[in-house]
């Protein structure tokens, strides 16, 4: 490395610390009137191939990150995240019932839907706002997008399995039924007192607030 003269060092430090681009005159005034042109030229040459460049724009000088490294300033990081259970349910309801309002989604789910849950689906690009329903309150209605079909490998919404198919696959069996079936199978000899297993309708409030967030 070559020795730098003091003026060049001073110009370098001044421009480095400056909060805005400076004209050669302003730098000179700051440094007691020295002629800084040679120093600026030296510095510009020195920084030409470094990670930082000294550039002149409209007579004002400033340091900036080398243009080819600009991508370092803004990096994108993609976090792969699994859709939460709640969001998956909302997505499924939108897909099966579209176009559907949030109130309708909630009625079908039986739980309130956090605002963030729909936002996640909008962000993922799987659900879009499909206008407003011409009914009191004119609620926003939602529908799925072509990206939704593409992501799930569906040619159209008709490809979603119907209710009968779901039932055949056992996906519609209520949890309680499955439990009782299991009990009846294993527990012929159980005591009578155990009958009380079947849930009363009051065991679950109709509209619980959503525990699981998106």
């Amino acid at each position: 490395m070559t020795e730098m003269d003091d003026l060049t060092r001073a110009v370098e430090a001044t421009l480095f610390a400056a909060e805005a681009p400076m004209t050669a005159e302003a730098i000179s005034a700051h440094l007691g009137g020295a002629d800084v042109r040679a120093a600026l030229a030296d510095l510009a040459a020195h920084y030409r191939q470094r990670g930082v460049a000294l550039v002149e724009r409209g007579n004002r000088w400033h340091f900036q990150t080398a243009p080819d490294l600009a991508h370092l300033l803004r990096r994108e990081r993609e976090d792969v995240r699994r859709l939460s259970r709640a969001a998956t349910e909302v997505l499924a309801i939108v897909a099966y019932h579209e176009p559907v309002s949030r109130a309708e989604v909630e009625a079908i789910r039986g739980v309130q839907t956090a605002k963030g849950t729909l936002d996640v689906l909008l962000e993922a690009g799987w659900v879009r706002v499909a206008g407003r329903r011409e009914s009191p309150g004119r609620p926003t209605i939602y529908a799925t997008t072509p990206e939704f079909l593409a992501h799930f490998g569906l040619a159209s919404r008709k490809d979603l399995p119907g209710i009968d198919e779901l039932r055949a696959a056992g996906l519609l069996d209520p949890v309680e039924d499955a439990l009782e079936a299991a009990l009846a199978e294993s527990g012929e000899e159980r005591e009578a007192g155990e009958i009380g297993q079947s849930k009363s309708p009051l065991a679950e409030p109709p509209l619980a607030s959503e525990e699981e967030s998106a």
Binding site: A13, F16, A17, A18, E19, A20, H62, F63, Q64, T65, L72, L73, R74, R75, E76, R77, E78, D79, V80, R81, R82, L83, R85, A87, T88, E89, L91, A92, I93, A95, Y96, I108, R109, G110, V120, E123, A124, W126, H151, F152, G153, P161, I163, L166, A169, L171, L172, P174, V175, E176, D177, E188, R190, A192, G193, E194, I195, K199, P201, E204
Partner: protein, 271 residues
């Protein structure tokens, strides 16, 4: 500036002291203003510095005299003295008298030990005070050295890539449907024996005989495949049991069970 062996005057020159207790003034010019000191120890340290010797060699006796003299002058000028200063003065007066006593008459801890302790404390405070001045005299960011004035800034934009598969989607819908279905499910009729019918049945059967009858006998007969529903059987057993208890409570029947979990027997009570 050399970082070692700063004199008090240089400490002042470091420029950050707000304190008024300037050590560079000489004894006669002592400010009679206690606000300048941060407590008695601070004043003592200042007085000690005036001895212009290493803090390890200060004369505690001389220091005590100076402090007490200072306090007396302040009192003579009718200045309000903070209690801390008076407590210290009293303590130092005690220390002085103890130091002047012959060694063997001294109590525990000895006056020398007390004096040494005071000296050690002054040394430590003095060391920290110098250290503070040296730290402040360093090249400070924003005063002597500067960061880049207009950094572009680094940003990491987080983008979420959401994952969900076909099965999870369909399964979720099935679960929603299943979860909201129980309203229908719960009203499904179930074969049960009500308590009323059990009461009637047990009462009627008890009227037939005076012998002990096992509770099991009261259950409806297994016929016509009706018993294939185990839930009805359990319901009948439970209802009959409650009916038996009810009859016993009413004094119409008595119950007996030979062993825990053994067969339960019931018979009519003669009235």
């Amino acid at each position: 500036m050399s970082e070692l062996d700063l004199t008090p005057a240089e400490l002042e020159a470091a420029g950050e002291w707000d304190g008024v207790g300037s050590a560079s003034s000489d004894d006669t010019a002592l400010y009679l203003e206690l606000d300048g000191w941060e407590g008695p120890l601070d004043l003592l340290l200042d007085l000690a510095r005036r001895q212009k010797v290493d803090l390890r060699q200060i004369s505690i006796l001389a220091l005590v005299d100076q402090y007490i003299g200072y306090i007396e002058r302040a009192e003579a000028m009718r200045l309000e003295l903070a209690a801390d200063y008076l407590v210290m003065a009293a303590w130092l007066a005690y220390l002085k008298s103890a130091l002047l006593l012959p060694r063997e008459e001294q109590e525990d801890p000895s006056a020398e030990e007390l004096a040494l302790r005071l000296q050690l404390r002054l040394q430590r405070l003095g060391a920290m005070r110098e250290a503070a001045a040296r730290i402040l005299a360093r090249d400070r960011l924003g005063r002597d050295v500067f960061l880049r004035g207009a950094p572009e800034g680094l940003r990491v934009d987080r983008k979420n890539s959401w994952q969900c598969d076909w099965f999870a989607l369909v399964q979720a819908y099935g679960q929603v449907k299943a979860r909201t279905a129980p309203v229908v499910h719960m009203v499904r009729d179930r074969m049960v024996m009500t308590l009323d019918s059990a009461l009637t049945r047990v009462s009627a059967m008890l009227g037939v005989t005076l012998d002990w009858i096992e509770l099991q006998e009261f259950l409806p007969p297994r016929e016509g495949g009706e018993w294939t529903d185990p839930r009805l059987r359990r319901s009948a057993l439970a209802s009959s049991f409650v009916a038996a208890l009810e009859l016993a409570r009413l004094g119409k029947a008595e119950l007996a069970q030979d062993s825990t979990f053994g067969p339960l027997h019931i018979r009519q009570l003669r009235t």
